[in-house]
Symmetry: C2
Subunit: 341 residues, 2 copies
């Protein structure tokens, strides 16, 4: 079943059939109707391969994320996929894992499938060294590369991100404003965003005239984010005799670990301890007490990323290389920040 069958059935040439399929205007209404009827009747679908061969595009975008079982990344993938579909693009998904070589392999695979662009979801695609970014710069020579919640300044690379540092700065300032002086920052090494947020934490302390105590900054070095790891980390901190009246975390899961610790230790939240999470997902509503968190506007980020990409495809020269959104603090029961700004 191909374009020739339609051509035979209708008596017009394949070129005209092709023109009808592609909505070209140079076809008489009569012919168009006849062809459309034949296509409908025979249930014909154009062959994407042949089409791709000529046009060198299949209207498919590669999405890379480290692990789409992570609720944050899963939501991002969801929003992006939805938005792409609206623009009649499909999504070739690649869960790369956190290993650099695997990321590179996945990129190669996506490019070999001739995707029209690549979207990198999550801050873990920001590498420390220039060298590790090479494969991304290389990809950008072929197709546009979009970062969601990440950033890279290079030709043909566009970034959409949330100012996480500013959000954590705000949270920290608010904690301090409410009398919390002994703050702990808890983050993990999976993605770069924990580090980005840390600068917000540091700056807030600095601007409040409070010295940063390095032993109050706690990095959890693990291959996944777990409640248990966070609980153990904060418990061992307490055991070392480090006192604190506020814990700010880079992820809701970590914050839940802190809540578990507090419950075991008989610490009352928010009276004796403020706790703030990040991401504002299901669990922040499920835990007890319900968790103050930060909504980092993931949906907006994703929508904006896709619409930027469409502008790039449309060859719109005024496309911003980088767009930054502001996060929003969602107060629940683990803090009492009555005069939130």
């Amino acid at each position: 079943m191909n374009i020739y069958d339609i051509s035979n059935k209708t008596g017009v040439s394949i070129a005209t059939v092709s023109r009808v399929i592609n909505g070209s205007s140079n076809v008489s209404d009569k012919t168009r109707a006849k062809v459309l009827a034949a296509i409908e009747e025979l249930g014909y679908t154009p062959n994407v391969f042949a089409r791709g061969l000529g046009l060198n595009t299949m209207k498919t975008i590669g999405i890379m994320c480290a692990d789409c079982s992570d609720p944050y990344l899963a939501r991002a993938v969801y929003y992006i996929e939805q938005e792409l579909r609206k623009n009649s693009y499909d999504s070739l998904l690649s869960c790369t894992g956190y290993d650099h070589d695997d990321k590179e392999k996945c990129m190669t695979m996506l490019l070999s499938k001739r995707v029209d662009a690549v979207i990198l979801v999550g801050s873990n695609y920001i590498e420390a060294s220039e060298d590790l970014n090479k494969y991304i710069l290389n990809a950008a020579k072929t197709v546009p590369v979009m970062f969601v919640n990440g950033e890279l300044n290079a030709p043909n690379v566009y970034s959409t991100l949330c100012d996480d540092a500013a959000a954590i700065y705000e949270v920290t300032r608010n904690f301090i404003k409410h009398g919390k002086k002994n703050l702990v920052y808890l983050y993990n090494s999976l993605s770069y965003s924990g580090t980005r947020k840390l600068t917000g934490f540091r700056n807030a302390l600095k601007d409040s005239g409070i010295p940063v105590q390095e032993n109050h900054i706690c990095l959890i070095d693990s291959h996944g984010i777990t409640v248990q790891d966070a609980k153990e980390a904060i418990t061992s901190l307490a055991k070392k005799g480090i006192e604190f009246d506020g814990v700010i975390t880079s992820d809701d899961i970590l914050a839940v670990g802190v809540l578990k610790y507090a419950k075991d230790a008989g610490i009352s939240i928010p009276d004796d301890l403020f706790v703030a999470g990040y991401n504002n997902f299901d669990i922040s509503e499920c835990c007890e007490p319900e968790l103050t968190s930060v909504d980092n506007k993931l949906e907006s980020l994703c929508r904006h990323c896709v619409s930027t990409l469409m502008s790039v495809f449309a060859d719109d020269k005024s496309v911003p290389k980088k767009t930054v959104f502001s996060a929003e603090i969602i107060e629940r029961k683990t803090t009492s920040l009555t005069i939130l700004q």
Copy 2:
């Protein structure tokens, strides 16, 4: 950059280059090495479109799931994608939503991209009427269709699922064994699995000689699963004067709603009320008290589905049309089922 460039560079014909690329054995070692070197040097990648045009396959599998921001489905997608990649297949993801027409459209789209198979993830692809399944049967005429956590008996359709009804049966029997007689079953209408589980609940009561009270079976009819909906549902049940000492739910999120209700109502868990969730995800560990849940072996399901698909591709005639896994009850703090079987 195409196969002719490699041909020119090496002096061998494009046929030989093709043979090297495809690992054909009829090439001398010397020629192979020469071609491989040229490919490496020029950074050549075969064009998938041209290849697909000839072979009519692109080694790509379509994955349909209603909503990959749902943690359950996201995890499934993750496992499937991983497993497919191991078998050198890529994943074209389509988040279809819960609307029937949209599902059909997405299927059409996937088929038009000439995927080699379609995997339907989640029990919401089981439709009440035969008529609604037509698009699936149609797809199965072209490519194998795989159900994960769903079931359809038709040619070229393969199902992998977990015996959710049996798991809920077990949970219910255990509740009863521990003296809980007034049980409520809480489920939602999003997917068919809630209904499947309900039969397990009914059977357990029946087999225990306890009459099923229809007003103890509570269906939440909403477009998403939320803690708040569940909390309201169970609260209104209590307000109606319905007494209960155990709540069994079709999803962890719903169970958290019950926990919230109990906390507000001053009901002690598990002393006065047993609660069980389903899916055994993050939140079951995050809530307070930690939730007894059911692990429905999602990873095993997904792995099995992909390996079945590979057998189908290999034309293995002994592939089972349907495989059923057993779930496992994970006891935490919302029950005290000390003599769990």
